[in-house]
């Protein structure tokens, strides 16, 4: 079948490409745009390794067709921070050993980013529930939860200082 013209805004940059409608968003990002932060883990929308932020929501990009994403605004791990200025979540994952093999980490941090937008001052239980769409096989989550709580505290302190 034919390819369709797809426009996306990815990490603030406008992208145009041709893709089959059936091509999955995760493949568009990884194969067409070279954005390899989001990963493929389970392919049935259980593991969250492919999580990106699309139009202000955390989505599992292995379960979104390129055609559906046409026109969307997308943020991936690559858009959250850069070597000269990491996002506080990136800092806190490093600080609290919130990762081991690193494969789930981009999806995990991208999800945590959206979660803290919606719930800036969560309890541990709320973090565990809010992160329950992302599987990690290495860490047992304990340090991930710790990192997210620490990031929330940092972000809130920064907000207060700014006011």
């Amino acid at each position: 079948m034919g390819k369709m013209h797809i426009k996306l805004t990815v990490n603030g940059k406008e992208e145009e490409l041709l893709a089959e409608p059936r091509e999955l968003l995760i493949h568009v990002l990884r194969e067409e745009l070279g954005i390899t932060g989001p990963h493929i883990g389970c392919e049935t929308s259980h593991c969250g390794a492919c999580t990106v932020d699309m139009n202000g929501k955390s989505v599992k990009s292995c379960t979104v067709f390129a055609a559906q994403a046409n026109g969307a605004e997308i943020t991936t791990i690559e858009g959250l921070g850069n070597p000269d200025g990491l996002h506080v979540l990136q800092e806190m994952f490093k600080e609290h050993h919130g990762l081991q093999c690193g494969f789930c980490t981009p999806g995990m941090i991208t999800r945590a980013y959206r979660f803290l937008q919606e719930n800036p001052d969560p309890t541990e239980e709320e973090v565990r529930f809010g992160m329950s769409g992302n599987l990690c096989r290495c860490t047992g989550y304990q340090n991930i939860v710790k990192a997210i709580l620490a990031a929330a505290a940092e972000m809130n302190a920064a907000k207060e200082a700014a006011q």
């Binding site: 369709m4 929308s45 259980h46 969250g48 929501k57 379960t63 979104v64 055609a67 809010g130 769409g133």
Partner: protein, 284 residues
């Protein structure tokens, strides 16, 4: 896991969507959140030649609570159901149940319309809608018609919706009294081993009305009139709850799967129902 090819359509009105569904018949499928359909397509267990994406149809969105009646557009997501303050106040049962569906990412995508129209016995909303005695509005080439949730489900994946119809909204009266949604599952993201939706009204210590629906315990949701009736007039004591559980058990038809054998599921159905009744009663 790579899906087959299909043609993609993104109509911007219900009429345009219905026209596409009419044109392509059983080769077409409406796409809402996609988190049931897309995995099936990736596993090549669903063969879809024309995918009709409903995301651009603004009229399918929205939650209206007015005069005791709740109307929810089919493309309203579970995330929106959870976070709508007016809905949470009018029908807290919806929030309680929605939080037990899938996981956060899936709830951003998953819609009420998709959940009720798909006909998957594992979905939570169909039973919930039967409990609430909701009415579905379907739009087809000949206009709109309404079907009660309690009449909508025929068998797994078979519903009263015709191929050329679109489920556009869900309507129900905000219930009075107590409520509970009790769901046992193996983990976040799983379907129910057994789930019970219960509404109870009380007056002078007696139950004056009750509604009970069960999920994933048959090839359709099971609204149990007999179980509800067993409670009405009682003080919701153990005997009445036992009678309701017994009536429910004779109405369900669970199948063995990885969650466990029939005997276990039947037992757990009784446990979750008894707990749901107690919790609903305590809130009534």
């Amino acid at each position: 896991m790579i899906p087959n090819s299909f043609q993609y359509h993104r109509p911007d009105s219900v009429d345009a969507a219905v026209a596409l569904l009419t044109q392509y018949g059983d080769e077409a499928r409406p796409l809402a959140g996609g988190h049931s359909l897309i995995p099936m397509m990736k596993l090549r267990m669903a063969d879809v030649q024309h995918l009709v994406d409903l995301q651009a149809i603004g009229s399918l969105k929205g939650i209206a609570v007015a005069g005791g009646t709740v109307t929810i557009g089919a493309m309203t997501t579970q995330h929106e159901l959870i976070n709508d303050a007016a809905l949470a106040k009018a029908v807290p049962l919806i929030r309680e149940a929605s939080l037990q569906i899938a996981d956060p990412q899936v709830r951003y995508a998953g819609t009420l319309g998709g959940n009720v129209a798909n006909g998957d016995p594992g979905n939570d909303m169909p039973g919930l809608m039967q409990c609430l005695d909701a009415v579905y509005t379907l739009s087809g080439p000949d206009g709109a018609r309404e079907v009660a949730a309690r009449d909508f489900y025929e068998a797994a994946y078979f519903t009263a919706r015709e191929d050329n119809e679109l489920l556009v909204s869900v309507r129900f009266d905000a219930p009075k009294g107590g409520y509970a949604y009790e769901k046992q599952k193996r983990k976040i993201g799983d379907y129910a081993t057994a789930a019970a939706a219960v509404l109870i009204e009380k007056s002078g210590g007696k139950c004056t009305s009750a509604s009970i629906a069960m999920t994933n315990l048959a090839d359709t949701p099971v609204w149990c009139a007999a179980a509800s009736e067993a409670l009405v007039g009682s003080s919701l004591d153990d005997a009445a709850i036992g009678a309701a559980v017994a009536a429910m058990k004779s109405a369900i038809d669970p199948q063995e799967d990885n969650r466990g054998p029939v005997e276990f599921k039947t037992h757990v159905a009784g446990v979750v129902l008894a707990r749901a009744i107690s919790r609903a009663a305590s809130r009534a």
